[in-house]
Amino acid sequence: MGIRERLSGNEATAYAMKQINPDVVAAFPITPSTEVPQYFSTYVANGEVDTEFVAVESEHSAMSACIGAAAAGARAMTATSANGLALMWELLYIASGSRLPIVMACINRALSAPINIHNDHSDSMGARDAGWIQLYSENCQEAYDNMLMAHRIGEHPDVMLPVMVCQDGFITSHAIENIELVETEKVRAFVGEYKPQYYLLNKQNPVSMGPLDHFTHYFEHKRQQAEAMKNAKRVILEVAEEFYKLTGRRYGLFEEYKTEDADVCIVVLNSTAGTAKYVADKMRQEGKKVAVIKPRVFRPFPVDEIAQALSKFKAIAVMDKADSFNAAGGPLFTEVTSAMYAKGVFGPKVINYIYGLGGRDVRADDIEFIFNKLINIAETGKVDSVYNYIGVRE
């Protein structure tokens, strides 16, 4: 079962797109996501897909074209990073508000200024209120698998929301890993056909899309959108269960690594979670009971489950590869602590480490430092500073 291959994150993403064979791909290049539409356009040129490839003049146009295509009834995909995502900003809201299940690969890269082509999460975090489902991927396998599940999640009639699958730029996108692919016929059977209820190219039931709403109706549309995002959590788990039956690979809302008997925990997204797990193993050998939680689903934010999973720890550090510049803490920290407080989990002490901005290397030593800090907090009950930067030259 499965095909063993060695691919980079970008190659795996483009390969997944080939297997999915969407109707339209409209994309504009930006480092480090360029290879996704680049490899995909080779498949188009070779006649290996039926996709209409639209080489647009900007990322704003890329998302516009995807919206037009999706509204017409086509399955539309794109890929971008950093300022490319930022250029699409108004259209992200239009895609979600219009309830169009576009799927996008977001190859995480730092937002300018200053200009930086390396990985951090400021791009997708900056879009966290745009109404898109956000899935985060630790490695090439997860990036590939999340891409295969994305349409089943977004196109579900109880959801009908766009999905962005995030992976770390360069670290994951350009790193070749051994991965297991699913056979194309199985992918096509799993992903299925896009069958929208409303679409413009429907002669039997012609519709108009993109209306004006006064204050008399906008709020009801947004309430509906909120319900769709609430439903997404259930659908994500259902799709993951089907995916497990297909591949044997299990996905949930977040991964819990050695959490059963731990007193302290680091919460961290994407590739750094891999390093954190390595450090956790090393420290466990020294008898230190440390754990890692790696969120996969950031939107919708799994408030109940995260609060429940974190309630048992004495000290938690949320590592953020983006800063909200709110003088208080990064986006993941804000979401996690808000979830805990809302659910009445007041026990654990929670601190924040902003790390790796602009692709600054995050080392095993840094993570070990954080774990030791947490162990100290667990013993003493004292927190000296909540909002911290690690890895910056002081």
Partner: protein
């Protein structure tokens, strides 16, 4: 799912409204009563009207309608915005122009 003028109802709930504001009907502009915006109102003086139909093509809101015999009928006050072009155009002073109350 609601359709037609039910979609414009000001008491439509979030469960009934169409997703993303999709409008599932064609030609539904008719349901929106732009006539509510009027501040001046044309009055058809039927006895003076010679049925020359000069008023009919100049109405920007298609609010002067023609019956099956090709004769104009009274204004569609649901959509007449009171621009007064028909008043100006009528050579027989068969259209009065008064304040909307």
């Amino acid at each position: 799912m609601k359709r037609g003028k039910e979609l414009f109802a000001s008491d439509i709930t979030w469960k009934e409204i169409t997703p993303g504001g999709v409008i599932p009907d064609a030609g539904n502009a008719e349901h929106f009563h732009t006539g509510d915006w009027r501040s001046m109102k044309p009055i058809w003086l039927k006895e003076k009207c010679k049925q020359c139909l000069l008023c009919y093509p100049v109405c920007p809101d298609t609010s002067i309608l023609i019956d099956k015999d090709g004769k104009r009928v009274d204004f569609d006050y649901n959509h007449c915005k009171g621009c007064g072009i028909c008043v100006k155009v009528c050579p027989f002073k068969a259209i009065d122009f008064v304040e909307e109350v």
